[in-house]
Amino acid sequence: MSVSFTRKEMLPPLPPPVGERGVVKWARENLFSSPLNIALTVLGVLIVWWLVSASLPWWLNSVWNASSLGECREIVAARAGEGATGACWAMIRERWHQFIFGFYPPSEYWRPVLAFGLLFAALAPVLFSGEKRNLLIVLGSVTVFLAVTLWLAETPVVALVLSLALAVVLVAVSQIAPGKVLWFTLIYPPLCYWLLWGGSIWSPIVAMAGFAVLYAVFRLASPLIGLAPAAGAGVVAAVLWWLYLDVPIASFLQSALPFGIDAINSDRFGGFLLAIVIGVTGISFSLPIGILLALGRQSDMLIVKTLSVGFIEFIRGVPLITLLFTASLLLQYFLPPGTNFDIILRVIILVTFFAAAYLAEVIRGGLAALPRGQYEAADALGLDYWRAQRLIILPQALKISIPSIVSTFIGLFKDTTLVAFVGLMDPLKGVTQIVRADINWKGIYWEPYIFVGAIFFVFCFGMSRYSMYLEQKLKTDHR
């Protein structure tokens, strides 16, 4: 037999045989591949059938118009016969505003609504940097949302016109110079604070001026004493500003040019307003703190490293509720007498720390996953530590960690319901308890939890989808 062989022409690719593609193949492989799998498929179908048949009547008999649980039950009994079950959504219809706003004064509902709409306008340039089409979609939706909801919330005409003008300007700017929308993101935090808590417009402006002081001192001092000492000097100057100059300047400006809106106390906040305020602030501050802690833990500097490790291990080692109790009770003892430190602010700080400690570990995992060659290449090109971190290391480490980072964010957002334990009115326990204490709705059980759970699901699912979009967008390795 000869071993010599020469191919004259190359074979073209062919489609797979008919039995090996499409629905038939999928069902055969996934549902009916063996007797055990056939049995499990049948069992699964039966369980689904049982769940649906048990709960479907309850959903179908839903009542939307009633003034009490008793009335709901009568309507269900009249419609579907004695003994039938039915959901009583009439409670939501009557009490939805408490689930959303807590005890925020109804005449001021437009303020949280406006703050919520603008939140997305502020997030858009961060989430979709430079993508004109996505910015247009988000900012356009914000404009429509504000137009409808502000009108429904009976917003004062001046505020309505100004808000819509702002939204339209943002849409226009996003299409002309997408990068410039970031400026709105910068002014959003004080604006949001002012809208929600009200009071003199000068307090948030003067407080933000502290950051300007920090930056100015840093810029002026850095050529003289180097970057790190200049940053330290800037922080000291800003703290001095906040401690000694902030209040006098703000009250002086307020007396010279009085302008403000009704101040709302923190104890009026509740429901999703509270959950979103704590969640969003916690998320936006925990990420940078977490990054710094992760870098600190890897640092060669002993003190920085020890402090980072100590912070991470301590915060991660105690339950969040312990930290919340610390926020509500113990923190007051450590502060100078007479300082009244807002309870929501205290809770936000500790929730942020808690999430930051988890994020630090998540990001450390991402940093550890990078090959050493990336650090070496950055070094060999002469990039200094901060530039190497910012341009080379962190973009890759954060990308690797996106799923875990978003998990932590979702966890943080859901954990905001734990503030119920320190007497704040979270949507799940706080508001639901108030509703169920009402004589009209006594005994209602599933409906409030389903309602609150559904809203949480929408937010968390949104975050999850965004993280998948981001992973896809940043996927450049083509593996």
Partner: protein, 255 residues
């Protein structure tokens, strides 16, 4: 291929290493290294694995720290002073065995990043320079792709272009062809030969003896952290002096 003798070597000293020692913990990796590299010299360093050759050139841009002796690069001594280290690193280009391109940046961004952030070159100018060097390594058409889309040989040529964009006066090559398929080794070596012909000072750790014979004006053989033998390539290959060198050469040239 060009002849080594045609290429200019000046008397100016580019790298001076005196009595340099390095330990990893208890392990003495580099032992009493003394060498001088003149501007325009092309040096090939070879030796068995673990002989310290990679560690030696990684000390020259302080990716590794030495514990004793002196390393002076372009008149700047390498000490713990970060300013000096960054200065040396921006003057010395390095090409790695595993390319170490930045996978999240395009080829063009890989090449412009350091000039923009370290040299403060305007973006436009940096891009022009980058395209110039990408044309030189013959892959300008890949400028807007990501490293993951390129073959190994192309990636290594990008890595060379990336180093050249910083306009280095010295180039270090750490086994640049060891991770490549045989078909791609040639394209990378050709790029390096072209660079040598332009008079770049080069230190190259490699086992490509053909390359050594073509462009090197000195071959250094290392074993157990020491320089065992150095000579002109012709003498080195035809008439090795030490037994260790003879054994090494018979093993790598014998197959």
């Amino acid at each position: 291929m060009a002849e080594a003798s045609k290429m200019q070597v000046s008397d100016e000293v580019a790298i001076q290493i005196r009595g340099m020692n390095k330990w990893y913990g208890q392990f003495h990796v580099l032992r009493d290294i003394n060498m001088t590299v003149n501007r325009g010299e092309r040096i090939v360093i070879c030796g068995p694995s673990g002989s310290g050759k990679s560690t030696l050139i990684r000390c020259i841009n302080r990716l590794e720290e030495h514990q004793q002796g002196q390393i002076i690069v372009d008149g700047t001594e390498l000490t713990n002073d970060l300013k000096n280290i960054d200065k040396v690193r921006s003057e010395v280009g390095m090409v790695f065995q595993h390319f170490n391109l930045f996978p999240h940046l395009t080829i063009l961004e890989n090449c412009t990043l350091a000039p923009i952030w370290v040299r403060k070159v305007p973006k436009k100018e940096a891009e022009e320079t980058a395209m110039h060097f990408l044309r030189k390594v013959k892959i300008p058409e890949q400028a807007h792709k990501y490293p993951g889309q390129l073959s190994g040989g192309q990636q290594q040529r990008v890595a060379i272009a990336r180093s050249l964009c910083m306009r280095p006066r010295i180039m270090l090559f750490d086994e640049p062809t060891s991770a490549l398929d045989p078909e791609m080794i040639k394209e990378v070596l050709d790029t390096m030969i072209e660079l040598a012909e332009e008079g770049m000072t080069m230190l190259c750790v490699t086992h490509e003896m053909g390359f050594a014979q073509a462009v090197a004006n000195r071959v250094i053989f290392m074993d157990q952290g020491q320089i065992v033998e150095q000579n002109e390539p012709k003498e080195f290959f035809n008439n090795p002096q030490s037994e260790r060198t003879k054994l090494f050469l018979s093993q790598i040239l014998g197959h």
